[in-house]
Symmetry: C2
Subunit: 423 residues, 2 copies
């Protein structure tokens, strides 16, 4: 892929792209009045949107509603793109496993936003994250939505990012820009940014990974969806904290086109679209790594890099098996360069390879070559384990395919958080 | 299936069936002289044997050797059955990821046993369990094998069961008998017994589940293999502690025929073979449940019972996803009837069902019906969580298929054991 120059926007987030405003407030889904629990992201004008939603059979009411809303967009068999003006997110209650009453609450919520903004109900997407199996009250929306609308601003991206947090220890925002020069969009600068929370089923009772992304690039809905899916596949879908896919997992991308309002949309196969894809993917990967690093009880981000796989699927199988292995994750918590667990996880993954072709490095230290143990400096390994980011490199020696999956270590705190959560 | 009456043999194990002797000794694979580390199970005469071995690409040297030995048996494409006189097991070192030197050690070990017993090298199977990536010394065999042979006895099954333990907290043995009356074997009583250790990749550095089973029923090698595979599929293969399949996982079944030495072997489709299958499956399930209950740091055995699945594969997918979910397992450690985690794990498993058809019970308490939360008595749930065996019943409402998978809870001790193991 040709690479374009990306400029990281300091403090950037969901309102870095032109044409968007946001707000984050306390509406009352949570007891604590100091915790924001309602976020609103609004485009100046109705604009293209794409969504990637959880495949979990137990998908939540807002996910069902978004799919239905997007299915009304013409020529949209995937129920995954269309045009909207706003996305609303509440935290505290996931509106999952809530049946018909939950569906009605999600519908009412969308209706209230559309009335407050003067758009159609189908021009609003809704997201929820929080406890499963509890009905979503609509009262907090009645006062919260007008309050949030009155606070909408380009300066309030951080408030929105804070409002979607559940057990996250900090808000997650990122944005980059790139120049349109040489891409057929001279004089234009395009921005892609977003906010995110959680990670897969990192917190299933506080269900969900949610990402809301915005760009001011001009991209048509169907093209936007391809880009969104492609970026999510190599970022959010490569994060695994406890191997689960939540009931609410959602990634939404809106494109205002405000950076080049008179220009033609990015065409399929164009250099401009390639640059956009690169910027979007970078933002998604940064947000995904923030999620993995913030896994419950985690002390370290773990990059599982698999190379030499016989197929892309094999690379993913092996990397995911290693990243999901509680034995690998506890070893990292214990600062133990225990490559036997890594080898065994790869070996049972279903990926095709021969054990005598496998090389493994942990934090750059070769620990296994040709499937056999290497002598290594345990003290040096212990020192390198002090880093907050741990690299595991596994070369399967079976082909040219590679991937990276992100996870975190498995600590006592993970057990405490998840064993004691409801009590 | 017709059910026959099984009599549990008090204190029964690998030598309960007629025609077998065993020994367990300290040979020197471990430092601690008080810990047995070498087990030998010997048939009075060379007899039919069947083996089910790990599918892990990183399979250990003894697994490779056993497959090769069994492949010499005529008409045996599966490399999984034949005739042998003895099985030797060492604990402490797994002889996994040890390359050519490891293959030679496994070969030498088999040769030494064959010399000591006066049988052919191909009439010995070898198993190892312990640390991965460390070469297996042959010196302990040189003194240990003659010592073990001199101690062979029908009373030493418990010694053998103790010698194969690694991080197991207690030896695992079980045996049953059934009458041949009405099965075409009047006056005969048949016994099936065995010993086992570990559980899947419950302890990957102390690699392995190993089970050695014996029977005095007359069963031909190919029929024995079908029976062994069928029993393992619904017992050992349904145990999951941390979703891993070890480098050494092995289940071996020997059939002396000593309970009916003059009789014809159990024929395919016969009532006698059906009774044998039932007895074997019962023994394997009991041993499998002992393994799950003894999972590292575990305080409870968890029975995940899935019913109403659209296919056998779907039942297995859903049950395994629930049993492997760290979030479900930590909830049980925390005595939390958190059905949302169970629902979400089933939902992402790939099994086909609709959320509005799902019913869930925890310890017999209905907590979810038609995919929706039910009010339940939390105090009563807490009381029932005091049991050492926890039942999770999930009815997917999608078909007639069912299965049970066994696991344990995920506790602080699991993290301690696995994070601190090598240090």
């Amino acid at each position: 892929m040709a690479t374009c120059k990306l400029d990281v926007i300091d403090g950037g987030g969901v309102t870095s792209a032109a044409g968007f405003a946001a707000a984050g407030i306390h509406a009352g889904f949570r007891q604590n009045p100091n915790r924001y629990d309602l976020a609103l992201v609004v485009a100046d004008d109705v604009c293209p949107v794409a969504g990637v939603f959880t495949q979990n059979v137990f998908c939540a009411a807002p996910v069902k509603r978004n799919r239905r809303v997007l299915s009304h967009h013409p020529g949209n068999p995937a129920e995954a793109y269309g045009c909207v003006k706003a996305v609303i997110v509440n935290s505290g209650i996931a509106n999952a496993a809530t049946g018909k009453a939950g569906d009605e609450a999600a519908q009412a919520e969308g209706d209230m936003v559309s009335q407050a903004l003067g758009c159609a109900p189908d021009e609003v997407l809704v997201c929820s994250t929080g406890v499963i199996g509890v009905q979503l009250p609509t009262e907090p929306f009645e006062t919260g939505i007008p309050a949030a609308v009155s606070l909408l601003s380009r300066d309030s991206g951080a408030d929105a990012a804070s409002a979607i947090m559940t057990t996250d220890t900090h808000p997650k925002e990122f944005a980059v820009s790139f120049s349109g020069a040489g891409l057929g969009y001279e004089g234009c600068t395009f921005t892609v940014g977003g906010m995110a929370k959680g990670s897969g089923m990192i917190m299933p009772n506080m269900a969900t990974m949610i990402a809301v992304l915005t760009t001011d690039a001009p991209v048509e809905p169907d093209v936007l969806w391809e880009a969104c899916k492609q970026a999510a596949d190599v970022s959010f879908n490569k994060v695994t904290v406890d191997s689960d896919t939540s009931t609410n997992d959602t990634c939404i991308l809106m494109a205002s086109g405000a950076a080049a309002p008179e220009a033609a949309p990015f065409a399929k196969g164009s250099p401009a679209l390639a640059a956009f894809q690169e910027a979007l993917t970078h933002v998604c990967i940064q947000l995904a790594k923030m999620m993995a690093r913030d896994g419950e009880g985690s002390t370290r981000l773990v990059n599982v890099n698999v190379t030499g796989a016989a197929s892309a699927e094999d690379a993913d199988l092996a990397a995911r098996a290693i990243a999901n292995s509680p034995l690998v994750k506890t070893a990292i918590a214990g600062r133990d360069a225990n490559w036997g667990r890594i080898a065994a996880a790869a070996g049972k993954s279903g990926a095709a390879f021969a054990q005598e072709d496998v090389d493994i490095q942990i934090m750059g230290i070769p620990v296994c070559a040709g499937g056999l143990a290497l002598d290594f400096d345990e003290d040096e390994a212990l020192r390198r384990f002090e880093e907050v980011e741990i690299d595991i490199d596994v070369d399967l020696g079976a082909g040219p395919f590679a991937t990276t999956v992100w996870t975190c270590d498995l600590t006592h705190d993970y057990v405490s958080i998840n064993a004691d959560y409801r009590s």
